[in-house]
């Protein structure tokens, strides 16, 4: 099996650690295994490049994002506009660079919120029994059944002005969007973590640790949680894509950023009606989202392989 792809980290890691005469550390070991995961390492590079171009891009590409040029509407890629233009003749490269900042930030932050809330709720429910579990699962069920659209409208109505006053227009909207997207995506994570916990907490190694007198917190953090991370990582990587796309639907409710601020999801949505007239419009936005998703997923794969030496070759 191992011969099919690259060498097995679990086989090689041990001799390296031994010969290096360094103190064995699970963290360093994991890092080494992660870096051996070539796709994961490459993905880190890709993400770093994306981030870099988004941060430095505006310095190099100086066309403003909202420069309307009716003479160059729906122009295909050219030297003047490497990514082409949209239906108002606005430069898509500039818009992609600007939008990337928001989309990536929203994607990662919302994923973070969803994972943290999901893991905490799931772990609490999975380790405790009786009323705490029931109450937390009730909360999960409640969130799953809430109709999102009316709730979002209510949230805008109640909190937009407050957050705007508190954090300024952009900051307020950002926090609101991250909280809303994350707040609607933690439930599957919580259910998955709980299910893993229910199974894991009865396993022998947990029993053993418990018998050795490990505290409950230690039991959860050091023993159960790392073994429950598989589905969590998958959920997290899917959530990044979902959050980037969800942001675009939010702006259609007036909850997202102001309509003149482009984000990747928004660009894709605007482009869809022009798919057969100006395919380049959708191509770059869709491609950027896809690239991000692939990178994140390979990193996720690398992480899960790194975290458990026994798994995968």
């Amino acid at each position: 099996m191992a011969g099919l792809t690259h060498a097995s980290p679990s086989v090689e890691a041990a001799p390296v650690a031994a010969s290096g005469k360094r103190r064995f550390s699970p963290g360093r070991d994991a890092l080494r295994r992660f870096l051996r995961h070539r796709m994961a390492a490459a993905s880190i590079l890709v993400l770093a490049l994306l981030a870099l171009s988004i941060v430095l891009g505006p310095l190099l590409w100086r066309i403003p994002i909202n420069e309307i040029d009716f003479t160059a509407r729906l122009a295909p890629p050219s030297w003047e506009h490497p990514f082409g233009t949209d239906d108002l003749g606005q430069d898509l490269l500039a818009r992609m660079i600007y939008g990337g900042r928001i989309s990536l930030a929203v994607g990662f932050a919302a994923m973070g919120v969803a994972l943290i809330v999901g893991i905490v709720v799931g772990a609490l429910a999975g380790t405790s029994k009786g009323p705490v579990d029931a109450a937390l699962m009730w909360l999960t069920d409640l969130f799953l059944s809430l109709p999102q659209l009316p709730l979002l409208l209510l949230i805008i109505y109640l909190f937009r002005d407050f957050l705007k006053g508190w954090l300024g227009p952009e900051g307020g909207v950002f926090v609101l969007i991250v909280l809303v997207i994350g707040g609607f995506r933690w439930m599957p994570v919580a259910r998955l973590v709980r299910a893993q916990f229910l199974s894991l907490r009865e396993k022998e190694f947990v029993e053993a640790a418990r018998a050795l007198g490990a505290s409950n917190v230690r039991l959860v953090v050091r023993h159960i949680l790392p073994n429950a991370l598989g589905p969590v990582i998958v959920a997290g990587t899917i959530d990044v894509a979902a959050a980037i796309i969800a942001e675009s639907t939010l702006s259609f409710l007036g909850l997202g950023f102001p309509p003149d601020i482009p984000t990747w999801g928004r660009l894709l949505f605007d482009a869809k009606d022009y798919l057969d007239i100006a395919p380049h419009w959708a191509l770059f936005a869709g491609g950027a989202i896809f690239l991000t998703v692939i990178a994140i997923n390979f990193i996720g794969d690398g992480l899960r392989d790194a975290l458990d030496p026994r798994k995968v070759m």
């Binding site: 909202n66 420069e67 309307i68 009716f70 509407r73 729906l74 239906d87 108002l88 409208l153 109505y157 227009p169 259609f252 409710l253 007036g254 102001p258 309509p259 003149d260 605007d270 009606d273 022009y274 057969d276 007239i277």
Partner: protein, 597 residues
């Protein structure tokens, strides 16, 4: 052309020196003519012979199925409850009014034998009553005869507040409806009423049968079984209805026009979005007709290249306009924001308003956003044409705007934003969420930026923006914002209701729970007086002049900035011949639709 010329020409028509057609053509030539030119003649005692609706087939039936696609799905089938256009359209398959409006704004008899006029004795000289003669031999789908009792009943039904009919507005100004004989009814008005063709005409004028709804007048109205299974006099009989999805009908063999309708069955499919509806008609030809294709013209043109169908456009009075807030939305007086007691800190300077008017690139918005489906205009009242003012024009010039602002003392600060007396020239501009509107906002924002004005864009989801929710500050009637843009629809060929939205008593305030129609809260004594005059002026020529004056008063104060007069675009499959008027529902004349072989 002045009033005297007009009168002379009307007299010529009367004596036969000028044909009716020639008269109308001359009116067009001088830009005064109109859909309502007919009404002009009618009031002067000349019978209106509406243009004949083209129809070739010689017998009813044989046309196969007619497939209609509405991207907003009908949800109910009682014309008196028909809130949205989509519902009104669906009702027109089964129900009919006494008369409808044709393309030029003339009345066309449907269930009436003829249109009331001075000549046939239908219109009283004092404007206090109208007599309608009904078409004989009309049958309901269940075989019962249609009579004057049904007409009287519809007035009682709609006029009863307990029924909660949305058509009540068309009937509450009628004091009484009397049956003269089985085929004649008389409408009595409390005061001289120049616009008498509201009750029993067009969509809210559809007649429902007394024998099926008679027991369900008032509070019980919602229990009537016929609400969901309509029985009317229309060209198609009810087959099936799934609210929010489909309406199906089949040909009514006893229809009162013996050679109509051409199609054997009819189906309305609802839902989806406008772009894909356009695709299904223009590009793949799956459907024969697609309603209200509010789609960028560029996409429509591209889809038409598919060769299956084409876009047809009709004139309407609907106007996309930008309103500047007269009051200050950021100051609370007596617990009310944007109170009538305040003045807007920036827009109270008329020079600022003038500059903003110059910064709206109407021509580009027409060319690049609305295309064939919009006409850039400086006027609020654009159609029917005889009400359109010739006195205004528009211009786009960043340079001039800059000069005006410089001269008025608004100096550019360090950030490039103009300011005066410590007040920076920046404001919030809101509209509903809708593709073309967001692009429109972007275009205006950019022009303003170049003139040293900072505009923050805001967009509100349409279901909130257009709601009448008292508690929500984001509705267009609250207008807690500096500038906003939306479309006002003109539902009738007569501007009376349309123009009341700038009268002082219509101001939207906390007191009337923001139900008033004057959303910019613009007040003008002259306007109020003129409007009252127009309300009771029986002479159509003078009345038209009054409405033109009303338009000019609003537009020249630069608080209300008209932008685009929208046209109604529909998709029509090749071979379909359909008559459609911009002053009535699309399906108002569906009985006459046919497919040319």
């Amino acid at each position: 052309m002045n009033e005297r010329d007009l009168r002379r020409q009307i007299a010529d028509v009367k004596t036969g020196r000028l044909s009716r057609r020639e008269f109308v053509q001359r009116m067009i030539a001088v830009g005064l003519t109109a859909p309502m030119a007919g009404a002009m003649l009618a009031h002067s005692g000349i019978a209106v012979a509406a243009e004949a609706i083209p129809y070739k087939p010689t017998k009813a039936g044989g046309g196969g199925p007619l497939k209609l696609l509405l991207w907003q799905a009908p949800t109910l089938l009682n014309p008196h409850f028909a809130v949205g256009t989509k519902d009104q359209e669906a009702c027109r398959l089964f129900y009919e009014p006494l008369a409808g409006w044709d393309k030029e704004g003339n009345l066309v008899p449907i269930l009436a034998a003829e249109i009331p006029s001075k000549e046939n004795g239908g219109l009283a000289a004092d404007g206090l009553s109208v007599i309608w003669k009904l078409k004989p031999g009309v049958k309901w789908h269940d075989g019962k005869p249609f009579t004057a009792d049904d007409v009287v009943f519809n007035w009682e039904y709609a006029n009863n507040p307990e029924t909660s009919a949305v058509s009540i507005g068309s009937y509450k100004n009628v004091k009484a409806v009397e049956k003269i004989d089985d085929l004649t009814v008389k409408l009595i008005f409390p005061q001289p009423t120049p616009f008498w063709a509201d009750a029993f005409v067009a969509s809210f004028g559809c007649i429902i049968p007394k024998h099926l709804f008679g027991d369900y007048i008032g509070a019980k109205s919602r229990e009537a079984p016929a609400n969901l299974k309509p029985v009317g006099t229309g060209p198609y009989m009810f087959v099936d209805f799934k609210p929010g999805d489909t309406v199906a009908g089949k040909r009514f063999p006893d229809y009162h026009v013996p050679t109509q309708p051409y199609f054997d069955t009819v189906e309305i499919k609802g839902g989806g979005d406008a772009v894909s509806a356009a695709r299904a008609v223009l590009q793949t030809g799956e459907y024969d007709y697609g309603y209200n294709l509010q789609v960028e013209d560029e996409i429509l043109t591209k889809l038409e290249a598919g060769g299956q169908g084409k876009t047809e456009l009709t004139l309407t009075g609907n106007i996309e306009y930008i309103g500047l807030n007269v009051t200050d939305p950021n100051v609370e007086v007596d617990g009310e924001r944007a109170s009538l007691k305040t003045k807007h800190p920036l827009f109270s300077d008329p020079e600022v308003r003038r500059a903003i008017n110059l910064l709206i690139d109407r021509a580009s918005v027409q060319k690049f956003i609305y295309g064939r489906a919009g006409v850039a205009t400086p006027n609020f009242l654009n159609n029917p044409e005889r009400y359109r003012s010739k006195n205004n024009s528009f211009e786009f010039s960043i340079e001039k705007a800059n000069q005006i602002l410089d001269a008025a003392g608004w100096k550019k600060g360090a950030s490039g934003i103009r300011e005066k007396d410590g007040k920076p020239l920046k404001f919030v501009f809101q509209t509903s969420i809708n593709g073309p509107r967001q692009k429109n906002q972007a275009i205006i924002k950019q022009a303003c930026q170049k003139a040293g004005i900072d505009v923050e864009l805001k967009s509100v989801v349409a279901s909130v923006f257009f709601s009448s929710d008292v508690a929500n500050p984001d509705t267009y009637t609250h207008f807690y914002c500096d500038m906003q843009m939306y479309q006002t629809t003109m539902p009738q060929a007569d501007p009376q209701f349309f123009m009341n939205q700038f009268t002082s008593w219509e101001c939207a305030t906390k007191e009337n729970k923001w139900q008033g129609r004057n959303v910019c809260r613009w007040q003008n004594k002259d306007y109020d007086e003129t409007y009252k005059l127009a309300q009771s002026e029986l002479d159509p020529v003078k009345r038209a002049a009054l409405f033109i004056k009303l338009n000019d008063l609003v537009v020249r104060d630069n608080y209300v900035l008209p932008e685009i007069n929208r046209l109604n675009a529909i998709g029509v499959k090749n071979g379909m011949v359909l008559y459609k008027s911009g002053w009535d529902n699309d399906l108002a004349f569906i009985a006459s639709w046919y497919r040319a072989s």
